[in-house]
């Protein structure tokens, strides 16, 4: 055995309230959902955990609900379940596209959307689509629920807005007419790969004018980001290749990538520009 997990306590609460009490009462406790990030971090000593609080038996954290105006996704919903959901493919195709490229079948059957967000890796693949859809996150604590837009959720490298004793409850996306969308993820190989750069674009178009647009990327900054300045270049303008090119150049200026095992800072910046150009062109239908 190359890896072993140090001694740990294990709790499996049935309600959110119970889970919150456990989190508050046991110092060094941590939530485990899919465990595909956390258990690797524990095995490699990146994370030290005294107690694991398994949220997989909390029914209200599971499932996808079409609530009319909104789509609600429980934080502990498995990625594979989201991938296979008609509600998702019909209403949030960009999220589906991103999840399709995540992990492998074996990993997606364990991993959860909330876990991907709460690990808050700069390479979190569910983040760009949720940023592009203006998703809102419901966070539960002892004193009740609060809502944080996903654009305010990532507060730094592997840091989130989740406070002490709080649990991410669900992801809420308002159904909206983001009729145009495009997604691209560049990894080191075709399948089962982590992102070097991923770009997600959603847009509302009427009469060749960009009514509204979102451009979001991962792996190019300490957190997944939105490219606000690039969006501004296009918002309210008539679609033109010249503007698309200008917006893509702005993206290269908005990213702050680093060198790591998957890529170099230089390459990530180049690819942020290049892939934004491709993604925008496809979403807006310009060559």
């Amino acid at each position: 055995m190359y890896y072993s997990i140090p001694k740990v306590e294990y709790y499996r609460p049935k309600t959110l309230e119970e889970a919150i009490e456990l989190l508050l009462n046991i110092e060094g406790s941590k939530i485990v959902a899919g465990g595909t990030d956390l258990l690797v971090d524990i095995k490699t000593s990146r994370a030290k955990v005294r107690a694991l609080i398994d949220i997989n038996s909390i029914a209200e954290l599971r499932g996808i609900v079409d609530a009319g105006e909104f789509i609600r996704i429980g934080a502990a919903t498995k990625l594979q379940e989201i991938l296979e959901s008609h509600t998702i493919s019909e209403n949030l195709p960009l999220l589906r596209a991103a999840i399709e490229s995540m992990g492998s079948w074996q990993i997606r059957n364990l991993a959860t959307i909330g876990g991907n967000l709460c690990t808050a890796s700069p390479a979190a693949d569910t983040a760009p689509p949720l940023l592009a859809y203006d998703a809102e996150l419901t966070i539960a604590g002892r004193s009740g629920l609060r809502v944080v837009p996903v654009s305010k959720f990532f507060t730094g490298y592997r840091k989130t807005a989740i406070g002490y004793g709080e649990i991410l409850k669900e992801i809420v996306v308002r159904k909206s007419n983001w009729t145009k969308w495009s997604y691209v993820k560049l990894g080191r190989r075709g399948g089962f790969t982590l992102s070097i750069v991923a770009v997600a674009v959603t847009a509302k178009i009427s009469n060749s004018v960009v009514e509204d647009i979102r451009i979001a990327l991962n792996s190019v900054a300490p957190t997944p980001i939105r490219a606000y300045r690039a969006e501004e270049v296009l918002r309210g303008k008539k679609i033109e290749m010249k503007l698309v090119e200008e917006a893509a150049r702005f993206v290269a200026g908005e990213v702050s990538p680093i060198d790591d095992i998957r890529s170099t800072s230089w390459y990530r910046r180049e690819m942020s520009h290049r892939l934004t150009l491709d993604t925008l062109s496809r979403a807006l239908g310009v060559e």
């Binding site: 055995m1 190359y2 890896y3 072993s4 997990i5 140090p6 001694k7 740990v8 306590e9 294990y10 499996r12 899919g34 465990g35 595909t36 258990l39 690797v40 095995k43 490699t44 694991l52 398994d54 997989n56 594979q80 992990g103 492998s104 079948w105 074996q106 990993i107 059957n109 364990l110 399948g191 089962f192």
Partner: protein, 160 residues
């Protein structure tokens, strides 16, 4: 902690510490040796088992988390027609070289074929490759595995 689950159709009970992964419980306590120790961090798929008919890596699953679950490994599929047909096709297509990844590769392939047949899907070669992307084969038998899966799918859809 006491954990009760179904393994290959039989109810088993183990008493484990919470830090034990299912991979170790299966190999070291229950003698299930088809489940291989590979990377131990979810990358290689050699430790794949089926939980409620879907493949998961047993190196990233704590045994205490599977209380009440239904676990299947290739040991439990020796009298399953579809699995045996697939195993024979693996052999005929030379989809086994060193064999280390094979039980897991076969399990994932089996789960995929079953799902495709149950939902009357007609998966493309790309769909099949996507399904087995989590099973690394360092001998590079992938094209032969795809061939074996395609043959079984073809035969089974004709019969229907």
């Amino acid at each position: 902690m006491r954990v009760v689950f179904t393994l290959n159709g039989r109810v088993v009970e183990v008493d484990v510490e919470p830090n034990e992964v299912l991979l170790d419980t299966l190999r070291l306590r229950l003698g299930i040796k088809s489940v291989k120790r590979g990377c131990e961090r979810g990358e290689c798929g050699a430790c794949t088992v089926l939980v409620s008919n879907v493949p998961v890596v047993s190196c990233l699953l704590l045994t205490v988390q599977i209380n009440g679950s239904n676990i299947v490994t290739v040991e439990g599929l020796q009298s399953d027609d579809l699995f045996m047909e697939l195993a024979s096709e693996f052999s005929k297509s030379f989809a086994v070289q060193c064999g280390y990844c094979s039980p897991a590769m076969a399990l994932t392939s089996y789960a995929f074929i079953k799902k495709a047949l149950e939902n009357s899907l007609k998966p493309s070669r790309e769909d099949i490759a996507k399904a087995i992307e989590g099973n690394l084969c360092r001998c590079g038998t992938y094209p032969r595995v795809l061939m074996a899966i395609e043959k079984v799918l073809e035969r089974r859809t004709q019969v229907r």
